[in-house]
């Protein structure tokens, strides 16, 4: 009987056969294009054809002031967006975790921005930001903060801030939900013990909740950094990277070069930079995840 069981569990070739379709699909649609992108970055590929040009694309790219501006802008955009998401997400999770009336309804109500197709949500924001008739400009004019119509997406600085706010709107629910899940995983008796010892609300939060969910906070900040870095639709719909490049991040620039101008070679060089940065992020994330898992399994 044991032997028979062994034959049931130990047939690796069956496992490989079961995984093969998905693996081949991923290789064809994800892995191959990645390698091809690297190859294209050394050519001047366009709709007309391609020639090998060596490092020209990279040299041009790194010596251009505009590109360096885009890289630093991407990181500034990312920094503000991710920090806001984490702070608001943490506050939101604490509130949702508290014993308030109707919290189960609120828990559901925080999620829509996450589920709704981003592109459609952005159409709504486009209307909110409308300088003449949007509600934000409207409130501003009524209260006298603005002395006239103001197109939030028409000026460099306000467009930059506006895209960050919209991005935070999209990203916060997910962060909140994950924080909430982590908080609910904190053992109850820790709180009860602290309560008996007379710890205040703040103490309980800073000495128990926060340390307990730190691993999740770290993973979420990395994950959210990756997603924010990749964010395309939000900026594209709101501003297409404008006005005058004020909201052009690396992803937007890559897209514009490659599919706006059909300069595949130059676009590919930018895509390679994006890839390298993403791989660094992903490496951090996976290393972290492996460490956390080890910790959990070792108690």
């Amino acid at each position: 009987m044991k032997q028979k069981l062994k034959s049931y569990n130990a047939q690796t070739y069956i496992a490989y056969a079961l995984i093969a379709p998905a693996a081949i699909y991923i290789i064809l649609i994800v892995a191959w294009p990645l390698l091809e992108t690297i190859r294209l970055s050394f050519t001047n590929s366009s709709l007309a054809g391609e020639d090998y040009v060596g490092l020209e694309n990279y040299q041009k790219m790194f010596s251009s002031k505009k590109f360096n501006g885009i890289v630093s802008r991407t990181f500034i955009w990312m920094f503000f967006s991710v920090s806001l998401k984490l702070i608001i997400g943490l506050i939101g999770a604490v509130l949702l975790n508290a014993n308030l009336k109707g919290r189960s309804i609120f828990r559901v109500l925080v999620m829509p921005p996450w589920v709704v197709p981003i592109a459609i949500g952005m159409l709504g924001w486009l209307w909110l930001y409308n300088g003449y008739f949007g509600i934000i400009a409207g409130v501003g004019m009524r209260t006298g903060i603005l002395d006239g119509p103001f197109g939030f997406l028409a000026y460099k600085q306000s467009a930059f801030i506006s895209t960050i706010i919209a991005d935070v709107w999209v990203g916060t629910p997910m962060v909140t939900v994950f924080f909430l899940a982590a908080m609910q995983g904190v053992p109850r008796d820790l709180y009860e013990a602290a309560y008996c010892d007379g710890a205040s609300r703040w103490d309980r939060f800073f000495k128990i909740t926060l340390p307990q969910i730190t691993p999740v906070i770290i993973t979420m900040s990395l994950l959210s950094a990756i997603w924010t870095f990749n964010s395309f639709e939000i900026i594209w719909i709101l501003t297409e990277g404008g006005p005058r490049g004020a909201t052009t991040t690396l992803i937007i620039d890559t897209y514009k070069q490659a599919l706006g101008n059909y300069k595949f070679g130059r676009g590919a060089a930018r895509a390679v930079v994006v890839m390298i940065l993403l791989m660094l992020f992903a490496g951090f994330y996976l290393a972290l995840l492996a460490r956390i898992n080890r910790k959990i399994s070792h108690g």
Binding site: K4, V116, P117, A119, L123, V177, A268, M275
Partner: protein, 260 residues
């Protein structure tokens, strides 16, 4: 909370107001004649709207079914078998999730162009499936792993064949998991219908709702009330599905990503 819901409320409110009230200066908060007029009129203003809605549903359904076909066997293998590279390949899957589709667009665009597949449904489905496979495998794997292996082994020892085990034990027990993963894939592919759609498809007949409506903002003076009405119609189906099943979906996703 207000921050999260305000856009939806304002979208809905705007969709109820007559257009000339929206475009009134100085800004007005109130309209006295709210109506669902925009919801009727939008079908005339955006003549392709029914088609966009159909496309969105069609694309999302096909994408999620294909995803499931690839994912079910793979997830089963990950949940049940031990084999070399098991863990490392699982991590690679996680890493794939972190790549934006934007990085892969160039080669995909060239290939699709060469095969004359630009401006077809396939052009949007094929890359869409690739980005749903990784998370779906992770999700479904955890569902399969919950089915006690003893059940299968007992049946096997009693002489059941693999196919019989699959049909009588695994299929019925994993139905809830399959439903959740299917819905995840559906919502996911419904939501991702923008980047690939605006890049690989210029034909109006094949556009899903997001890119169809986006197209509309570009030209003509935008009739915002109808635009908002149409957007809300586009949002409604996912929201409804989600509201009914949010408990399962959230539980599945958070356990997969946080606790691994």
């Amino acid at each position: 909370m207000i921050f999260i819901l305000l856009p939806f409320v304002e979208m809905f409110y705007a969709s109820l107001r007559p257009l000339d009230h929206l475009f009134r200066s100085p800004y007005q908060f109130y309209s006295d004649d709210l109506s669902f007029w925009a919801y009727r009129e939008m079908w005339n203003t955006v003549p392709m709207l029914p088609r966009y809605i159909f496309n969105s549903f069609f694309l999302a359904s096909v994408t999620s079914i294909i995803t499931l076909l690839f994912v079910i066997p793979a997830a089963y293998a990950y949940a049940r078998f031990k084999f070399p590279f098991k863990n490392s390949s699982l991590y690679i899957l996680l890493a794939i999730n972190m790549f934006s589709g934007a990085v892969l667009l160039i080669p995909l665009y060239k290939v699709l162009r060469t095969f004359g597949l630009l401006n077809t449904y396939q052009a949007m489905i094929v890359p869409g499936v690739a980005f749903l496979i990784p998370t779906s495998i992770w999700l479904l794997k955890s569902y399969f792993a919950k089915i006690p292996i003893d059940l299968e082994e007992a049946a096997f020892v009693d002489g059941a064949s693999r196919v019989q085990i699959l049909r009588h034990i695994i299929a019925p027990l994993s139905t809830p998991g399959l439903v959740v993963v299917g819905i995840y894939a559906f919502i996911g592919s419904y939501a991702q219908q923008f980047l690939f759609a605006i890049t690989f498809n210029q034909k109006k007949e094949y556009m899903p709702i997001p890119s169809g409506l986006y197209e509309f903002i570009g030209y003509t003076t935008v009739k915002w009330n109808e635009m908002m009405a149409a957007s809300l119609v586009g949002i409604a189906p996912v929201l409804i599905i989600f509201l009914f099943l949010q408990k399962y979906i959230v539980a599945g996703l958070t356990s997969g990503a946080v606790k691994n």
